[in-house]
Symmetry: C2
Subunit: 342 residues, 2 copies
């Protein structure tokens, strides 16, 4: 055990891919907050259920966490998956909007973490796991069109978005609906990622040239998935501690309430905490997970099973409590309910 910083938190170094050791370790705790790379997330959640410990997870896992719902119910365990910014806060807000509608027409999410200023070559700053960052551009995207789930390419659906206080951005499809595909029915649903204009074209080039390929490539006498080398290079070039970031999230849900068309719109703009050196991405991701973890640990959230955040968003008491806790940490979400044409 090693002490982290000067706080009363201590650390354990552990190979989480070793199932037996992981099980043995998790047994000692009441609640697990998972903040692992996507490829390890599902395994961690599964182990939590096996051990019988509650879990709050922020990983961008490729698997569907809802497939573990029955096991979690049986084990009497609460699992909150996708508990970061988006998926995460976005789901919570969608749940809130949906609970105020009789009929849902569309759910449109736009979200991005950006450097405060454009910073070549990619106009991006790496604030989270580089492998999951690449996966956002590589993974097939599921959206809903005319009520049906369809698969599209990441980086497609490119459009321009003007964000007050930030300026002109571009937005393109990424696979962020996830549990919403199973929990919400609407005519149209998508998540798009926000970046500075021109970013998508560059990432598309890397993708098309094969730099995101996961299949090992033989080069001289070694075999290496091109994506592994790309991840190392991007991490080297784009991880710039101290470079301020900004997070933007738009959640736009339209539908009907008692026959009248209405639109619920939420906007979050959060900025780098210079004083404490905490990125906006860390703030919006980790504070969300931390607040929810405390609600689960305090038995404020009592439901057993895999409970996605949209379900919590539908409960006014819980939603308001989360909002209040986030606001205390300086994360302010503007809620605007509008007639559909505004």
């Amino acid at each position: 055990m090693t002490t982290i910083g000067k706080s009363n938190i201590s650390g354990i170094r552990l190979d989480v891919s070793d199932r037996r050791k992981l099980t043995h370790t998790l047994k000692k705790f009441d609640l697990v907050v998972g903040a692992l790379p996507g490829r390890l997330g599902y395994r961690l959640v599964k182990t939590c259920i096996g051990v019988g410990v509650d879990g709050v997870d922020v990983s961008y896992m490729p698997e569907n966490p809802l497939t573990l719902h029955r096991d979690a119910v049986k084990a009497g365990v609460t699992i909150i998956p996708d508990c970061g910014l988006a998926p995460g806060l976005s789901n919570l807000l969608v749940g809130r909007a949906v609970s105020q509608l009789d009929e849902i027409e569309y759910v449109h999410i736009a979200v991005g973490g950006l450097p405060v200023k454009r910073t070549p070559p990619l106009d991006h700053v790496m604030t989270w796991c580089v492998e999951d960052f690449i996966d956002e551009y590589a993974r097939k995207v599921r959206i809903v069109e005319r009520g049906k789930v369809v698969e599209v390419e990441a980086l497609s659906g490119l459009e321009e978005v003007d964000l007050p206080g930030i300026g002109k951005l571009e937005a393109f499809y990424t696979d962020g609906l996830r549990t919403l595909l199973h929990t919400i029915r609407a005519e149209s649903m998508w998540e798009k990622t926000l970046r500075y204009p021109g970013h998508a074209k560059k990432m598309k080039l890397l993708k098309e040239l094969g730099f995101f390929d996961e299949k090992p490539l033989k080069v001289d006498d070694v075999r290496l998935p091109p994506r592994r080398l790309t991840a190392r290079l991007l991490d080297k070039k784009l991880r710039r501690p101290g470079l301020g970031d900004v997070v933007a999230l738009n959640v736009d849900v339209g539908g009907r309430r008692r026959g009248t068309k209405i639109r619920h719109f939420y906007r979050l703009i959060d900025r780098y905490d210079k004083e404490r050196g905490i990125t906006a991405m860390a703030r919006t991701t980790a504070y969300t997970a931390s607040v929810i973890a405390q609600l689960v640990a305090g038995k404020f959230v009592r439901e057993d099973g895999v409970i996605p955040l949209e379900k919590l968003g539908m409960k006014p008491m819980i939603f308001d409590r989360i909002m209040a806790e986030l606001e205390e940490r300086g994360i302010k979400i503007r809620q605007i309910s509008l007639p559909p044409n505004l």
Copy 2:
């Protein structure tokens, strides 16, 4: 020895990085045509001189072949370096132009091999050594400004060029002057490479992200220079046999003759030989090397030493003979002498 095709040519498989074996093999021949990757070119030429055999080389070697001049003279050997398209034909044409001037003001070369049609993602087709192709974008470029050699970045100096029969292209500095830096004095000299518009920006991105780096990078448990993986990927994506290519070369030399300003301009446009499946790049590179090799072997070129093509271009008899031989192979160079304002 293995027979190549149905011709009377036979092959030897040889590790040319093994100096002893290379020396032993070259001894058996009267003339060597070097068509190796750039990193092996200098070594081959040096071995030719050591063995006492004439050599014609097309490799894009990073070293200066003129440093071997004295050794070649001593050995009584003729070496023609940079004997392809550009460097190569370009040097020959510069030599011709210069021989018709009393004073040289500028030497401007623009050259490129392109696919006949734009072909995403890079609008390029790989018609030669992928490693030397990458080196063109990575290697520092020497140009002449106000009579002095200065170093600039490859991919800089971007401008638009309109080529009749091909259309709008872009041009940027590449390190193609080479021996001309030592043999010709002018106020301004540069070589630029021609590509479809937008290509330079894409290659610049790869360069800036570190994909052309030669320093080995540790990725997981292997160490690999990023450029090696990039070379493999580009070769896979851009080598498309049968996709027609076109080669364009502009050589523009301005100066004075008997006090009057004059401009010598040469243009070569060559296209894929569909019937025989020979790319324009292979035609313009290999036919040049082959014609020169025959002139050296036939003692038509008699000078000992390292003789760059601009020197041969200055000799009317040799220049005309080369032009005639190339024309016989369908390679037609238009020569236009103009007053300087046209």
